[in-house]
């Protein structure tokens, strides 16, 4: 399959990098969510959320099951009525507007393709409900079929399609009404790995071409990282952190986000001194007393308990004692290793008995493992890789 073809639009060409409307204080958000709450039988599913999403964003809401992300999406679509708060889309308050009158369309997790209709009938359904002229519907359907590469399959029934094709039908059906916002509920969850990677890029291209604001809900942090312009990490009905994927990955603001968004090593540490001007602290690790420096923001005072977090891929693993500026070095033994082809994951037991996970690229082409079980190794990382977490 090729990538999804370009659709002619009047959208001005934008660059991915420069397009950061959330940094512009003057910009009006396209979707405004204010103090939004939803309770089910007294249990809050969504608790007092505020969120601004800007025109043309590919915004991802990331969270585990039961975190309230689907409820939030269903409130945007109009399937659930908020218990409190406000949703404004393109300047219009959505309160009291039923799902069938909202300028949003949704792609369902199960795809929800109508099993008794053909592909073309599925795709044209939305236009038919709007009472659009038959000849025009036909043109738009053909256009859509071409966009999602299903031109040859218009007369097929859904049960004659593969999972990936059904996903395209669902996408075409949701896009044909040219919604202001497209909601996607776990869009890639039902696809196998290869198809997923490919569809991911297609979705991004499509979003860019059409200029439609996408709001994606997912539990898959990798999906969130690759797709989004911004990510909101959600837990127990609240947003824990909102930011670009790299912000959230490199500078998580608490342990939950750090742990949920990728893999990370935590070290308990005590603050020795904190320079409030340069925002650099010096801390000693629990048990070993290893000293290390780290940048911080917020309120941190000597004697305070903090967590130092380091991503596995930031750590170098060597057989000899490394030398260099600003390096934290610790010694350990290879306890476990997993070979992934492009990289290997090592679990190192340090002298203090703590397990540290390290991810290393397999630079050399060799069928021999670079390290074996029980090898003695040195772990080292630059102090700039230390993330200070207080909660």
């Amino acid at each position: 399959m090729e990538t999804i073809k370009t659709m002619k639009t009047n959208q001005p060409t934008k660059s991915y990098v420069a397009d950061t409307p959330w940094l512009d204080r003057e910009a009006t958000p396209f979707i405004q969510i204010k103090n939004l709450s939803k309770n089910f039988d007294g249990t809050p599913a969504v608790a007092n959320i505020d969120l601004n999403i800007y025109q043309g964003e590919l915004f991802t809401i990331l969270g585990g099951s039961g975190c309230g992300k689907s409820t939030l999406l269903r409130m945007l679509a109009g399937f659930e009525t908020p218990s409190a708060g406000q949703i404004i889309i393109d300047g219009k308050d959505m309160a009291g507007i039923p799902a069938y009158d909202r300028p949003v369309n949704m792609m369902f997790q199960s795809y929800a393709v109508f099993p008794h209709m053909t592909v073309a009938q599925n795709i044209s359904y939305g236009l038919k409900k709007d009472g659009i002229e038959k000849s025009q519907i036909k043109n738009r359907v053909n256009e859509m079929l071409e966009l999602v590469q299903l031109s040859a399959l218009g007369k097929r029934k859904p049960h004659q399609l593969s999972g990936g094709q059904r996903q395209r039908v669902a996408l075409a059906r949701a896009l044909i009404k040219k919604p202001k916002v497209l909601l996607l509920d776990e869009p890639l969850a039902a696809l196998d790995k290869k198809l997923r990677e490919q569809t991911q890029f297609e979705l991004m291209n499509l979003q860019y071409e059409l200029g439609i604001t996408f709001v994606v809900v997912t539990h898959d942090q990798e999906e969130a990282m690759t797709l989004s312009s911004r990510v909101a990490v959600m837990n127990e009905g609240r947003f824990i952190q909102i930011g670009t994927p790299s912000q959230v990955y490199e500078s998580p603001n608490n342990k939950f986000v750090a742990d949920f968004f990728g893999t990370i090593n935590f070290f308990n540490a005590t603050v020795q001194n904190a320079n409030q001007d340069s925002k650099v602290l010096c801390a000693t690790l629990e048990k070993t007393g290893t000293k290390l420096d780290a940048k911080f923001d917020g309120n941190i005072h000597p004697g305070g308990q903090i967590t130092i977090a380091v991503r596995p891929e930031k750590i170098s693993i060597t057989k000899n004692n490394p030398e260099g500026e600003n390096l934290t070095v610790t010694k350990g033994v290879v306890e476990d290793l997993a070979y992934y082809g492009n990289r290997s994951i090592y679990r190192i037991r340090s002298q203090s008995g703590r397990i540290i996970q390290v991810s290393a690229q397999n630079f050399a082409r060799s069928e021999q493992l670079a390290l074996e079980w029980d090898d003695e190794v040195y772990l080292s990382w630059n102090s700039s890789c230390n993330v200070v977490l207080t909660e």
Partner: protein, 311 residues
């Protein structure tokens, strides 16, 4: 040339000996055995009798073969009974009436049962179980008893007439019992669970995200129903309709107890032919034709099921 390496060893499925295989076959064919013993065999007897001639004897019909006779006519089967069915109006009227009553009752059951099944399928799990229980509850009382209860309700001095007269809507009791309306009432009342249960099973497992998707694409609630819910519930509608239509067509007790003298349904005719006139061959012919009438819709249903895609 190389000889092949084929060994003479017989490959048997692991752990399957002869007894297991027989046992497995027995289980597989048990339903067929059941059908053979309790459906096909009796039917063949009925079919055989339908070709005989009634006589005053025990049993009251002739044999089909007479090998002892000296005459050349040893084969005694005749079409006479079937011929007679076409000649006498009574039978056509009965068949037609039965089909009409069964058809209208099925439609009424569907119209009442569909919203009920839909309501149950959309209720919360606890409520759903209570509602299903209420649908099944009447089965715990004898069917005959419940029909007698209706006689008590509908009679001249029954509860309904007393109530109407008490309020002053009518001066003299209405003729409710022994009418066609009473027959419809009885059939709908008796068979409605058979409509509700298959419909419920269908509606309950329907993916609600299909409804959401239709609404999301701009369909009003009634359009969602017409475009999505209704077409997808057709298997449930067909199953429920057959479960009502088939027993209703041969219904004997309800028209006999609640219907008037003129409400001649085929069950009643069959009964009279058998027990009153003691014309077993003619009664058998009536039964055979009835079976044919019933088999046709079942075959249509089977076909519609077979044509459906495997989901």
């Amino acid at each position: 040339m190389n000889t092949s390496h084929a060994t003479n060893e017989v490959i048997k499925p692991l752990g399957m000996n002869f007894r297991d295989a027989m046992w497995r076959k027995f289980i597989t064919y048990l339903p067929y055995l059941w059908l053979l013993l309790f459906f096909l065999a009796p039917f063949i007897i009925v079919l055989k009798i339908s070709f005989a001639t009634p006589i005053v004897a025990q049993p009251p019909f002739t044999e089909l073969f007479d090998l002892d006779s000296d005459t050349s006519q040893w084969w005694l089967a005749s079409w006479e009974n079937y011929q007679f069915l076409t000649e006498d109006n009574l039978y056509w009227v009965s068949y037609f009436k039965s089909i009409k009553v069964a058809f209208i009752s099925t439609i009424i059951c569907l119209l009442i049962g569909y919203p009920m099944a839909y309501g149950i399928a959309r209720a919360t799990p606890i409520k759903r179980n209570i509602l299903l229980m209420l649908v099944i509850l009447p089965f715990w009382t004898s069917f005959l008893l419940r029909v007698y209860a209706w006689m008590g309700l509908l009679g001249k001095n029954g509860i309904i007439n007393s109530a109407l007269m008490h309020i002053g809507i009518v001066d003299s009791p209405l003729q409710l019992l022994y009418t066609d309306m009473a027959v419809y009432l009885g059939i709908v009342y008796t068979y409605i669970p058979f409509m509700i249960l298959p419909l419920y099973a269908n509606l309950e497992k329907m993916d609600t995200s299909l409804h959401d998707a239709a609404a999301d694409l701009g369909a009003r609630p009634w359009q969602v129903f017409i475009n999505i819910t209704l077409p997808l519930s057709i298997p449930g509608i067909l199953a429920g309709s057959l479960l009502v239509f088939i027993p209703a067509i041969g219904e004997y007790v309800i028209p006999a107890l609640l219907g008037g003298l003129d409400s001649l349904m085929i069950g009643r005719t069959l009964y009279d032919e058998f027990f009153v006139n003691r014309d077993w061959p003619l009664a058998s012919a009536v039964a055979t034709i009835l079976l044919l009438i019933l088999v046709i819709p079942i075959m249509l249903f089977q076909r519609s099921q077979r044509d459906k895609p495997q989901s």
